[in-house]
Amino acid sequence: MLTLSNFFSWLSGPWMPENAGGFADNVDFLNGFILAVSYFFVAVIAFLMIYFSIKYRQTDRADVSHGAHHSTAIEIAWTLPIVAIVTFVFVVGFTGFLDMAGPPTGGEANAFHIRVEARKWGWTFYYPNGGSSDKLYVPADRPVELTLESNDVIHSLFVPAMRIKKDVVPGRYNRMWFQPDPNLVSAENPRKELDVNCTEYCGQGHSQMNTLCIVVHESQWDDVLSEINKFNKDGLSPAEYGEQVYQVRGGCVQCHSIDGSSGTGPSWKGLYGSERPLAVTDGESTVTADDAYIYESIRYPNRKKAEGFGTASMTTYGTSQLSAGDVRAVIEYMKTLAGQDPLEAFPEDYDGKTDASEESE
């Protein structure tokens, strides 16, 4: 049955990306209404321009047209429909926006909470069980609420298929939520991948700051949670855990290769223990890449930049982003890339702040 509401959503069809739930129904309806208005006015205005230009084309250059050139009644007559249209557009847009402001009150307890960290140029998603991932895994059958934090500059999280977007602003926690369309996935097709983009310009790697939102059917959700949980350090050697930090938690992989190829930052291959020429020579011209130098370069990246990377601008990793244990794990991982032997295990009392207990700080 073709209702007006279906008609407007149908008009939106060729323009909009796939509808994966979220706020697509409201957005597509309003967008369709605006499209209908736009098609109408563009057609009328274009028709009148062309029609007038032909019908009233000049034949005698001296001729002057005399007609009415003022009518308050006409001005009011064509202003009123505009007022009505924009009022309607505002109201529909406003109500749709209020829905975006927070999960429905009744279902609040049911919302699944994920903490999002954005940095130049990648995302890390932290789950209630202490696990983390570089892709956004969400359950299909309940609302998802995200708390957004930035480690450096402003980013913006955009899921086009959900029609939802929110800036990730340093110094404040922004929240966003959405409810995926439960019919996206089924027991047979348990996972659905959707694009996630950064939509606030954040520098050199802005266009690479993309990931996936993976909507997971309930039959697989527990598997996903335990899969994510492997990024906990339990059961891993320091170097293995360091590799996870490199890949996911720190997102170092965005700028540092491990195969010797040059990226935004220096490659880690063979880096550990080598002599590093400095970009700005202030007394010393080289420094040995030992534990102290690597620790300093993670906590204070601008102090001693290596030659060739003097203009690179790395995210500063404070203790809230990477604990001392995380940094230790990264150093052990770097040792393996330089052919050196890493620690076999975390020392018993060694700053074990790499597990979920840290998240509550």
Partner: protein, 596 residues
């Protein structure tokens, strides 16, 4: 200095002097021949010469900004890296980020904002008022020098950055800055942490802002103080109403930009925390400051264009403008509304839903005066005597582009749809339709319309019309497709993109090449006119605003000696007869306006 015309008509009020065919003044003095040598230009206080100097420099800025636009579009023609295939992707992205920043900054601050007010406004505003010059001629010259100095800063910064990036030089000498890669918006904290030349660029913006303020001050004083006898506010040509509204915005909003830039400098150079949360600041505060200027600035760009179109639609329809008072009032309404809608740039920033809804509602209100203008222009055409000369083609192109640009503002002003469209190519397409499409078309319309007056020569009409169509097609091909890309979710300011967006980018880039060809065609058209154009009559279009009551080009003092201009009904065309010998209009002797 000035040569007295061979047969000066009597200067009785109500009669007019420009009726003498241009031959009568041809051998005489005009503002171009009035002084010789480079210093007679660089130290001139003649508003017409300053207008021409603005024309040369602003068009040069347009060329540079255009080169960067083409570089940006070329990078995006396919996924992957096009501009520096030999370099690693990082360098390519760095270059792209500098290119789009420089393109935006040059086009906004050095081309669009000064285009119509500083070139056409400077030239015609005093003549339309029957005045000898603007109220403060020396300040007018100072504004041009502010423009030059500010632009020099800009070009210096960008040249260093682009050259350094292309050549792969890491440590440029101090006098060779590192470019800017912040986007023309300079959002913090990116702009306070990037190691590119933000400080120099903001100094450039600061100085350019003063150029804009000085022009605004001059226009307001001139319109208030130098109107001639019989020109009440009801006889002010609509271009002047729109320039007046523009000047109000320039004076009130631009200082906020200057302050914002100073705060940015204070944070970046002195470490005073204003916007950086680590220092107790708020990055969104920067966005409020920035858009408090930059949203009204959008109306600085479009309002003068609307004024130009109001003149041209009426003149080329040979019919009094419809709804004069509504068009004039809508200019002021747009200027006012423009100040209270800036928050719609921050719907996704996390500001409170209350603020968002207020800004959304206010934004919607801008649709009303905009629609009023379009309807009045169409009503003017109704039952007119329409002549499709080049200015009119651009004017109709303007209405088409502005209609699309305006309507696509609706989903950006409405809250829920904006959440989807924010920072996608939809926004890029929207503001190019309004800022480039509309303002550029109005600028070209105005340039063609006043060209005979400014230069004293006609242009090749056939070539003018032909390239107008090329530009129209090229522009729509470039930007309409971006609405679809943006709706599909393509984020803006991406140096590289998902291959699924390839076809949109490919068509857009081809369109931009066509647009470029069209623009060079216009340049060719103008250069050809300069070299060998037919001499222009005083009034080639049969318009009645005062600048057509004086020879082309006007004498140094704007009007022939002995002619005391008076206010006339600007849209009354009955007083002119067509003379095919000069291909222009001459004043009917002893014509007296009786009202219609």
């Amino acid at each position: 200095m000035s040569v007295i015309p061979t047969n000066p008509p009597a200067s009785t009020p109500g009669t007019d002097i420009a009726q003498t065919p241009q031959g009568g003044y041809g051998a005489g003095d005009n503002y171009i021949t009035h002084g010789k040598g480079i210093w007679s230009w660089l130290l001139t206080v003649d508003h017409k010469r300053i207008g021409l100097m603005y024309m040369v420099t602003v068009l040069a800025a347009f060329f540079v900004g255009g080169v960067f636009a083409i570089a940006v579009r070329t990078e995006l023609i396919w996924p992957g890296q096009q501009l520096m295939p030999w370099a690693d992707p990082n360098t390519n992205w760095k270059l792209y980020n500098q290119l789009f920043t420089v393109h935006g900054a040059i086009m906004v601050f050095m081309f669009i904002i000064p285009s119509i007010p500083a070139i056409l406004g400077n030239f015609v505003l005093p003549i339309m008022l029957g005045a000898k010059d603007v109220a403060f001629p020396r300040i007018n010259l100072l504004s041009w020098y502010c423009y030059i100095v500010g632009s020099a800063f800009f070009l210096w910064v960008l040249a260093g950055g682009v050259v350094g990036t292309v050549l792969g030089i890491e440590n440029m000498p101090w006098f060779f800055p590192k470019g800017i890669d912040t986007g023309w918006t300079f959002y913090t904290p990116y702009s306070t942490t990037t190691n590119t030349g933000v400080i120099l660029a903001t100094i450039g913006v600061f100085i350019l802002g003063f150029s804009s303020i000085l022009t605004g001050v001059n226009f307001i004083a001139t319109i208030h103080m130098l109107r001639p006898r019989n020109m009440g506010w009801g006889r002010l040509p609509l271009l002047l109403w729109s320039l007046y509204a523009t000047a109000v915005i320039q004076i009130l909003a631009t200082p906020v930009l200057a302050i914002t830039m100073l705060l940015l400098l204070a944070e970046r150079a002195l470490g005073i925390g204003v916007f950086d949360p680590a220092l107790g600041g708020d990055p969104v505060l920067y966005q409020h400051f920035f858009w408090f200027y930059s949203h009204p600035a959008v109306y600085i760009m479009i309002l003068p264009g609307m004024g130009v179109i109001s003149e041209i639609i009426s003149v080329f329809s040979r019919k009094h403008i419809f709804g004069y008072s509504f068009i004039a009032a809508s200019s002021l309404a747009i200027a006012m509304f423009g100040f209270i809608v800036w928050g719609h740039h921050m719907f996704t920033s996390g500001q409170s839903p209350l603020l968002n809804s207020v800004f959304s509602l206010l934004t919607m209100s801008v649709a009303i005066p905009s629609a009023v203008k379009v309807f009045n222009w169409l009503a003017t055409m109704y039952n007119g005597r329409i002549r499709m000369d080049t200015p009119m083609i651009y004017a109709l192109g303007f209405i088409w582009l502005f209609t699309i640009g305006g309507l696509t503002g609706l989903p950006l002003g409405a809250l829920s749809t904006d959440i989807h469209y924010h920072d996608t190519y939809f926004v890029v397409a929207h503001f190019h339709y309004v800022m480039v499409g509309s303002t550029l078309f109005a600028f070209l319309a105005g340039m063609y319309y006043w060209w005979p007056k400014m230069i004293g020569k006609m242009y090749n009409e056939k070539a003018g019309r032909f390239f107008a169509w090329i530009i129209f097609i090229g522009f729509n091909a470039t930007f309409f497709i971006q609405f679809i890309a943006g709706s599909q979710g393509a984020p803006r300011r991406y140096a590289d993109y998902d291959p699924k967006f390839w076809k949109y980018h490919f068509i857009s880039t081809l369109g931009s090449y066509l647009l470029t060809i069209g623009l060079f065609g216009v340049l060719y058209n103008w250069v050809q006119s300069l070299r060998s154009g037919k001499k222009a009559p005083a009034n080639p279009w049969g318009a009645n605003t005062l600048e057509w009551h004086t020879p082309s080009p006007p004498p140094h003092a704007n009007f022939v000696e002995g002619h005391e201009p008076e206010g006339v009904p600007p849209y009354d065309y009955d007083g002119w007869d067509y003379d095919e010998n000069i291909d222009g209009y001459v004043r009917k002797p002893n014509y007296v306006y009786e009202g219609h």
